[in-house]
């Protein structure tokens, strides 16, 4: 195009020596994607305050211009506005490409809250900035529980892992700013290392239908995206400060972003959280404090055609774990279960003592994209993650301050992604990723490694396509292949090696015999194929339906393969199994959506059949010098999960509204014909809302949360001989706690401090009635009640 201008310019250059004010500027406005002319685009010459519009062929012309530089702005409905400098030298011709694409528009548009769904035929929910900011002082897992069908599995109240339709940990992919989080997500007590405050929006996709992110997300995908960058000269930021009574702590988050119209931007964000011991209604939860520090910096260049982004984030969480949950043997567990309150209750303190976790996660990312006219968008990304986890146990003597676990997980990933979107009714996306991961378990802990040293290699390719058959029908297909290799070096106690029968099946992987221990080198390869298809159909203005199907495979994680040792908080010996193969999920789902002005309804149903489902079950007891311990071993079975999630919203009038959410899920072990363990129980949330714009944009809502008792659970109770009393005692580890009902209240007002600055003041009260309760999916439910009443004040300043 440049050459064209040059040639045209050259033709006239000889006859325009002096100032010429008879020049004509003419050209064509095209759609960048497919080159089609854009009709009725506005062409505004800023320097002369002149307007014109493009005709039916996308052509325009402006006459009687003087030679020299002019600045024009070209705009069109649903297009990115473009600002250009044009050198007029005689009659000048120019082709102007405009971006005419709704999806991409959201990425470059000015509004910081514009966000969109990532899929068209999946069960997807979008949480916007407002819904996230409310949970600024809490965790990702807490924020996601707003979505019907998403629950959490907790270790206390600070370690919160999201559960999507009954599945969690390695069965969920968490993407943050384009990076797949690799933070030892296999463990139930390993919460995602995410500072919720770095997210501008969160998309939650149920099931494995978003193949671009990975093929092993049997449960679903959580995508956190930073706030959009606007292409204008601007400096903006926000600060959120909150203080709360329960835990007597505060949370502080602040961010600042500088953007330039040319496309350059730079931003930084930092957050701090500090809490002391939390409180149940009747007692203090000794040693449950939290100290969290995080920051991130983000910079780059962004236009429609090309751009790059460099990102770094740091997050350190120092989390205390309830003192009473650390127990020595099964008798201690029986005592804890039978005791109505925790065995250690001390006065309030900010101290973080053992047992505790100290986890640092760092991400470095660089990506680059370029858009090719009449073709699509190519993106290349490299990221590096360093996850360093210390776990401190209660120890004696010189080892008192030594961590019991010291793991460093390093992950390098390169991803490329090509999106072909030049046709308006079909998009194709191809991608590839190559990954290398190294886990290092520091032997200086003086405790045998729970997870061994390993190298892991990943390779994946995928192709996804979307077709718009007509205005009402959308069709998606996806296919993906993944290769995983894990190459570990693991020590086994010789007696364990023999007891597991590995001497027969894996005799050839022993590389060193140290007498009581064997060093082994297990190397396993996994080939996984995943596929997805879906259709979205709009029946009429108000009703639409979505069906989809997903096939996915997940390779076993290091914990399922290699676990080998005593788990203190559960007082059980957990054993992995080298024989475990990948699990395969076939999931079908259907969604019905109804929408009109005052009423909307979203009904989602699913059936997920998982063959070779990997789970942990009790297999017997073993005697040690400390007493008897139940042994839990990883095993595989065929399982089915099915359920229904409902969301409904009704507006009585401008002020009053009613919101309902409920979710029901059943998990069955098809081989043993019994319930699956750790399935969320039925939950229903009803919210009565009142808003009034006139009262300083007042919002308030009263929320009722009812969680029924889980009556479908496998009975893993067992009897154990207690030498002290010389009795056989039943250890009731299975019975779920009773149903509970909680009331919450929240309200906020917004004050405009100046044209660009506003202050939002919020008051939240959770568990208003100070109800004592225990939650089935909290691993500390044997030891203590959940949190009591909490008052929280939040100040949110946007500037």
């Amino acid at each position: 195009m440049k050459y064209y201008v040059l040639i045209v310019a050259c033709c006239f250059i000889n006859i325009t020596h002096s100032q010429n004010c008879n020049s004509k500027f003419f050209g064509e406005v095209h759609d960048f994607h497919d080159g089609t002319p854009i009709i009725d685009a506005n062409i505004y010459i800023e320097t002369l305050d002149k307007y014109t519009t493009s005709d039916i062929n996308g052509k325009f012309s402006v006459e009687n211009l003087c030679d020299g530089k002019i600045t024009i702005t070209v705009s069109h409905l649903a297009c990115e506005t473009k600002r250009l400098d044009i050198q007029i030298s005689g009659d000048t011709f120019s082709v102007i490409n405009l971006e005419h694409h709704i999806e991409e528009l959201n990425e470059v548009q000015v509004d910081g809250t514009t966000t969109s769904k990532l899929t068209k035929t999946s069960q997807e929910t979008l949480l916007k900035t407002d819904a996230i900011e409310r949970f600024s002082a809490l965790s990702l897992g807490d924020a996601l529980k707003q979505i019907s069908g998403v629950s959490s599995i907790n270790t206390g109240n600070s370690i919160v892992k999201p559960v999507i339709n009954g599945l969690h940990s390695s069965r969920i992919i968490v993407m943050t700013n384009g990076v797949r989080l690799q933070d030892q997500e296999w463990g139930i007590e390993h919460a995602p290392n995410i500072d919720l405050n770095t997210a501008g929006s969160i998309n939650v996709i149920k099931g494995a239908n978003a193949l671009a992110y990975g093929g092993d997300a049997i449960g679903g995908v959580i995508v956190l995206k930073p706030s959009n960058i606007s292409l204008k000269d601007s400096l903006y930021g926000k600060t959120i400060i909150s203080g709360q009574t329960n835990g007597r702590g505060y949370s502080l988050n602040s961010s600042l972003t500088k953007t330039y119209q040319q496309g350059w931007y730079v931003g930084a964000q930092a957050s701090l959280k500090r809490f002391g011991d939390f409180e149940a209604p009747d007692y203090s939860l000794t040693n449950t404090g939290l100290n969290s520090k995080g920051f991130s910096i983000n910079g780059g260049f962004k236009t429609f055609e090309k751009g790059f982004n460099v990102y770094y984030s740091y997050l350190n969480n120092d989390i205390a774990i309830l003192r009473s949950s650390h127990i020595g043997n099964i008798e201690d567990l029986v005592n804890a279960i039978n005791s109505q309150q925790p065995l250690v209750v001390e006065d309030f303190s900010y101290d973080i003592n053992a047992p505790r976790q100290d986890v640092t996660h760092q991400i470095i990312k660089a990506d680059f994209y370029k858009r090719f006219k009449n073709f699509g968008r190519l993106e290349v990304q490299y990221d590096f993650q360093n996850n360093h986890r210390f776990e401190y146990d209660i120890r004696v003597g010189a080892d008192r301050d030594k961590p019991a676990i010291d793991l460093t997980l390093k992950t390098h990933t390169i991803r490329t992604n090509l999106k072909v979107d030049s046709k308006s009714n079909a998009t194709y996306e191809f991608g590839m990723n190559v990954g290398y991961q190294n886990n290092f378990a520091n032997p200086d802990t003086g405790v045998r490694r729970l997870i061994p040293d390993y190298d892991k290699y990943d390779f994946g390719v995928f192709a996804v396509s979307g077709f718009r058959l007509n205005d009402n029908t959308h069709l998606d297909f996806g296919l993906r292949y993944d290769f995983n290799r894990i190459d570990a070096k693991k020590f086994y106690i010789t007696s364990r090696w023999i007891e597991r029968g590995y001497d027969v099946d894996f005799g050839d992987i022993v590389i060193d015999d140290l007498g009581t221990q064997l060093l082994t080198n297990p190397v396993f390869d996994y080939h996984n194929v995943s596929a997805s298809t879906g259709i979205a159909f709009k029946l009429n203005e108000r009703n639409s339906i979505i069906f989809n199907y997903g096939l996915s495979n997940r390779a076993p994680n290091p914990s399922e393969l290699f676990s080998d040792g005593l788990h203190h908080s559960a007082a059980r010996i957990e054993l992995g199994d080298l024989r475990i193969k990948q699990e395969t999920s076939n999931r079908i789902s259907g969604t019905y959506l109804y929408e009109q002005e005052s009423f909307s309804l979203n009904l989602e149903a699913f059936y997920n059949h998982i063959s070779d489902y990997i789970f942990i079950e009790p297999t017997g007891t073993e005697q040690t010098i400390r007493g008897a311990f139940p042994v839990w071993g990883y095993n595989q079975t065929n399982a089915a999960l099915f359920g229904m999630d409902m969301m409904a919203n009704y507006k009585f009038n401008e002020q009053w509204s009613f919101n309902h959410k409920s979710s029901l899920i059943k998990g069955r072990d098809l081989s043993l014909e019994q319930a699956l363990i750790d399935m969320p129980s039925f939950k229903t949330v009803n919210i009565l809302g009142y808003s009034n714009e006139k009262w300083l944009r007042f919002n308030s809502e009263l929320q009722s949360e009812l969680v029924l008792r889980q009556n479908d659970f496998p009975n893993n109770n067992f009897e154990v001989f207690i030498p002290r009393t010389e009795e056989m005692v039943l250890v009731d580890v299975s019975s779920p706690p009773p149903a509970y009902h909680l009331l919450h209240f929240q309200s906020d007002i917004t004050l405009n401090l100046s044209a660009k600055t506003n202050l939002n003041i919020g008051l939240n009260i959770t568990n208003i009635l100070n109800t004592s309760y225990r939650e089935y999916l909290n691993r500390l439910r044997y030891f203590a009640d959940d949190l009591g009443r909490n008052f929280m004040i939040q100040l949110k300043l946007n500037y």
């Binding site: 005592n335 490329t416 040293d453 364990r496 060093l519 040792g565 002290r724």
Partner: protein, 187 residues
């Protein structure tokens, strides 16, 4: 082509990182705090045959149960001076754990129990707060019979709770580090 160049640079960078990774075998961990062996030596006051009670679990949390040995019967109507020896035999030479417990005696307490009233126990050693520890104790037998003796070590017990300083474990709390039950006869 520029893009492909960039991709290849990134790719090479990864290869370099990969190549740099340490290929040496990991070092074995010999657990330092493991207690594998508890030996109670009972020496009769005024002479006679000493009796030892031992529990030994050489593979720690491994699958093999502890091996429990009782050297012989106790004599009726006799007072024994008892002492405990704790060893970590996973390391060579075996390491004594007694010192660690003696140093942190306020955080440790042994509890002794017998069935069928075959024996009673008294603490001999006390911590800085005058609360019992139990590395040293006396055992007194009465009449002949058979029963079991249980020795329990609790870490961070509540020594001031009711009965705990008298040797009653009921309200002690804390974590169990050792539990061993020995079948004995009194002749």
């Amino acid at each position: 082509m520029k893009i492909f160049k960039k991709v290849s640079i990134l790719f090479l960078a990864t290869l370099v990182f990969t190549a740099c990774s340490n290929d040496d075998d990991p070092l074995p961990v010999n657990e330092e705090e493991v207690i594998t062996t508890l030996t109670a030596t009972l020496v009769p006051v005024g002479g006679g045959t000493a009796v030892t009670l031992q529990t030994r679990d050489l593979d720690g949390d491994g699958p093999n149960p502890p091996v429990i040995t009782v050297s012989g019967p106790l004599a009726a109507g006799t007072t024994y001076n008892g002492s405990l020896a704790l060893l970590n035999e996973t390391v060579t030479p075996a390491e004594s754990i007694n010192e660690e417990i003696a140093e942190e005696d306020e955080e440790h307490q042994f509890f002794f129990q017998a069935t069928n009233n075959i024996a009673t126990f008294d603490y001999v050693d006390f911590d800085g707060n005058d609360n019992p520890v139990g590395l040293e104790f006396t055992l007194t037998t009465t009449t002949t019979g058979a029963g079991s003796i249980t020795i329990i070590l609790r870490h961070e017990p509540n020594k001031t709770a009711t009965g705990v300083s008298d040797g009653d474990i009921t309200n002690a709390g804390g974590e169990t580090d050792i539990t061993a039950t020995f079948q004995v006869t009194v002749q």
